[in-house]
């Protein structure tokens, strides 16, 4: 019985993730898409719990569902985007063909994955038992501030760049330098 709970949970959350992901791309109203994407993120977070990485699961909810999606939905509201007439247009046939090709390629590569026998890299020795004893946050944060100090610092740089970028793009929008056919 115990052994069935994990697979059952996995299939349930996977199904939710896939269905809501499809909803994201087929719903005509951007707000609906956004809400569905939040659901996808939450089910992915549950998948992380199944993988025994609770820390990632928590920040998944905090960062994606809590911050990024709020921002996106806020912008949708701000721009007052209406539902589109139809998600299809005349060249959709070609697009679907391309997606088909791509999905096939990916599917074939998955087939290859399934035949090649799983992972092959070296093991790090951080087992689930060890994690249960030490705690995931401790393990991650120790690595983050020792071995991965530089990438951590670079992240701060990246966020600074993003902030400056947003400021530049947003400022001075009200001033129109000139009007005419060129400026639309």
């Amino acid at each position: 019985m115990e052994s069935l709970i994990k697979p059952a949970a996995f299939y349930f959350f996977s199904a939710v993730a896939v269905v809501t992901a499809i909803m994201v791309i087929v719903k005509r109203n951007p707000v609906t898409s956004g809400i569905n994407l939040v659901l996808t993120f939450c089910s992915i977070s549950a998948i992380y719990v199944l993988l025994n990485s609770q820390f990632i699961a928590v920040i998944q909810v905090l960062v994606y569902a809590g911050a990024i999606m709020v921002l996106i939905i806020f912008v949708i509201m701000l721009l007052n985007l209406r539902p589109v007439e139809s998600i299809m247009d005349k060249s959709t046939g070609v697009r679907i063909a391309a997606i088909f090709v791509f999905v096939t390629a990916l599917g074939v590569s998955l087939a290859a994955i399934l035949t090649s026998g799983g992972i092959s890299g070296r093991s790090g020795g951080i087992t689930d038992e060890f994690l249960a004893k030490t705690g995931t946050i401790q393990v991650i944060s120790r690595s983050l501030f020792s071995e991965y100090l530089l990438p951590f610092e670079l992240t701060s740089l990246l966020l600074t760049v993003a902030i400056i970028g947003v400021v530049i793009l947003a400022k001075g929008m009200k001033v129109r330098k000139k009007t005419g056919p060129g400026s639309e």
């Binding site: 790090g124 020795g125 740089l157 793009l169």
Partner: protein, 507 residues
């Protein structure tokens, strides 16, 4: 099994952190630190002052910090190789030379950008911190020893470039460039990330040395993740360098972005992405023989890239678009060197980076003098008669275009010569022949620019326009220095080649 944990956990953690901070060898990242400080300082200045005096102060400050970054890169290049941040990055002559290219090109571009954006009528001071952050990102990409650093460096660079492309938010063409660049860039970085994930899954590590050790023990075919991951990474980098079929954004973004931003995008980031990819391949020991698959694939991509670039350029009318396709073609020649993937080829690659950066920046700086009306006059008809009414500018135009089309005794010829020569020496005959044929085709569209500038009569009114051009000192210095360098390197290319060869020894 419990004993194989990473050491950070078994010791007292505080002591461990202190120890690691002690061995960070932080000075190996001195150029990055200096330029980051510069970026923060210029950002502050931009926030405080909007006046004309603030612009000049900001300009001078960023020039100062980039110059300091350049000097420290030179200093680092002269040091023996060493690791920093527990092996996350390493400094050697290879990264040193490329750091010099990045900071040098940013310096030259900022020198010209000041007057260019003044003429354009919209001066955005945040330009300076963004360019400096982009340089920092590129430096980390090249120095990286870990795929995580490569990814983060690339993202810092990309985010800066997305914003730079759209920096003139009043110009719809600039907006359009930013949207296109952003959507496609984010899309392609998802592929890059997937590639990194697969390589990590296949080898169990993101460190280049560990990956190399793994691949040396087994082959890359040990697990399908590894080749698939490398291919997906190739896509991510291929997008950045505008390799066919990931090149489609290039002409639109180059045309839409403000001219000096285009100049920046077309030079250093390409060198950064390609050198990072080449470094990944070479440190994974994927030299010919170990991976016929990659050699064939990149060879085909090289040929397709240069052919498409050259053919598309033939019928263009907008000079920025011509330069976009020309840059695609040049990436094709560069990919020949990546395809050969041995040390000599990488030396030729470094040499080509230097030359390409210099001649492209020179040409764009020259164009910046002519640009009017948000660059809309930069068409073939728009430059009619330039050579006749301003012979000196015409002479510079001639030098840069001859170099771009690879006519001796300019640097462009020497650069192509070394790439094709390496190809023949390593028995890549077909690649060399197609490359040379392509460079013969490319002469046509460069020649068209010359033809319009020299042979067509100036349009009425453009004569005053040409005579009104004022040579501003910084811009003229940049044009003069780059033109002189193009000729000098063309006539005496030996020492840079030697430097490139030495740089490769360190990898």
């Amino acid at each position: 099994m419990q004993q194989v944990m990473i050491p950070a956990i078994s010791d007292s953690s505080a002591q461990q952190i202190i120890k690691i901070l002690g061995d960070t060898n932080i000075f190996y990242t001195l150029p990055q630190i200096i330029i980051s400080i510069g970026a923060l300082v210029t950002m502050m200045i931009a926030a405080i002052s909007r006046e004309e005096r603030g612009q000049v102060i900001n300009y001078i400050t960023s020039v100062f910090f980039l110059f300091a970054g350049l000097v420290s890169s030179v200093w680092l290049a002269s040091l023996p190789k060493g690791d920093a941040f527990s092996g996350m990055v390493s400094s050697d002559l290879f990264s040193g030379i490329l750091n010099i290219i990045y900071s040098g090109s940013a310096l030259l571009i900022i020198l010209v950008a000041h007057s260019y954006f003044r003429n354009r009528g919209r001066y955005i001071q945040e330009l300076f911190p963004l360019i400096q952050f982009a340089v920092v990102g590129m430096m980390f990409m090249t120095m990286a020893n870990n795929l995580i650093i490569v990814f983060l460096g690339l993202e810092i660079l990309s985010v800066s470039l997305y914003v730079l492309a759209g920096i003139d938010n009043m110009d719809t063409r600039s907006n359009e460039a930013a949207v296109k660049y952003f959507l496609m860039g984010a899309f392609s970085s998802a592929f890059l990330l997937y590639g990194i994930a697969l390589v990590y899954g296949g080898t169990g590590s993101t460190g280049l040395r560990e990956i190399a050790a793994y691949i040396n023990n087994k082959s890359i075919w040990q697990n399908i993740y590894i080749p698939a991951g490398i291919i997906l990474m190739l896509i991510g980098f291929g997008f950045k360098v505008s390799m066919v079929p990931f090149h489609m954004w290039t002409p639109d973004v180059y045309q839409g972005a403000p001219l000096m931003i285009t100049a920046f995008m077309s030079t250093a980031p390409k060198a950064a992405a390609l050198s990072a990819f080449a470094k990944i391949l070479i440190s994974m020991n994927l030299e010919p023989g170990s991976s016929i698959m990659l050699t064939n694939l990149i060879g085909v991509l090289a040929v397709v890239t240069m052919t498409v670039g050259n053919l598309m350029a033939l019928n263009q009318n907008d000079i920025k678009r011509i330069m976009a396709f020309s840059s695609i073609a040049h990436v094709g020649y560069l990919l020949i060197a990546v395809c050969i993937m041995n040390r000599e080829a990488l030396a030729a690659l470094i040499f080509y980076f230097c030359v390409y950066t210099i001649m492209n920046i020179g040409f764009f700086s020259l164009l910046s003098l002519l640009a009017r009306d948000e660059d809309r006059n930069l068409t073939l008809e728009g430059i009619q008669g330039l050579g006749k009414s301003r012979p000196l500018l015409g002479l510079f135009l001639l030098i840069f275009l001859f170099s771009l089309s690879g006519i001796p005794p300019t640097a462009g010829f020497a650069a192509k010569f070394f790439i094709f020569n390496t190809a023949i020496e390593n028995k890549f005959y077909l690649l060399a022949i197609l490359g040379i044929l392509n460079s013969a085709i490319s002469a046509y569209y460069y020649l068209r620019i010359i033809l319009y500038a020299f042979i067509r009569e100036p349009e009425s009114g453009s004569i005053d326009q040409w005579s009104q051009i004022k040579l501003n000192a910084a811009c003229f210095v940049v044009i003069f220095v780059t033109a002189a360098a193009v000729l000098e390197i063309g006539i005496v290319p030996g020492y840079i080649i030697d430097l490139g060869k030495k740089a490769i020894q360190f990898l």
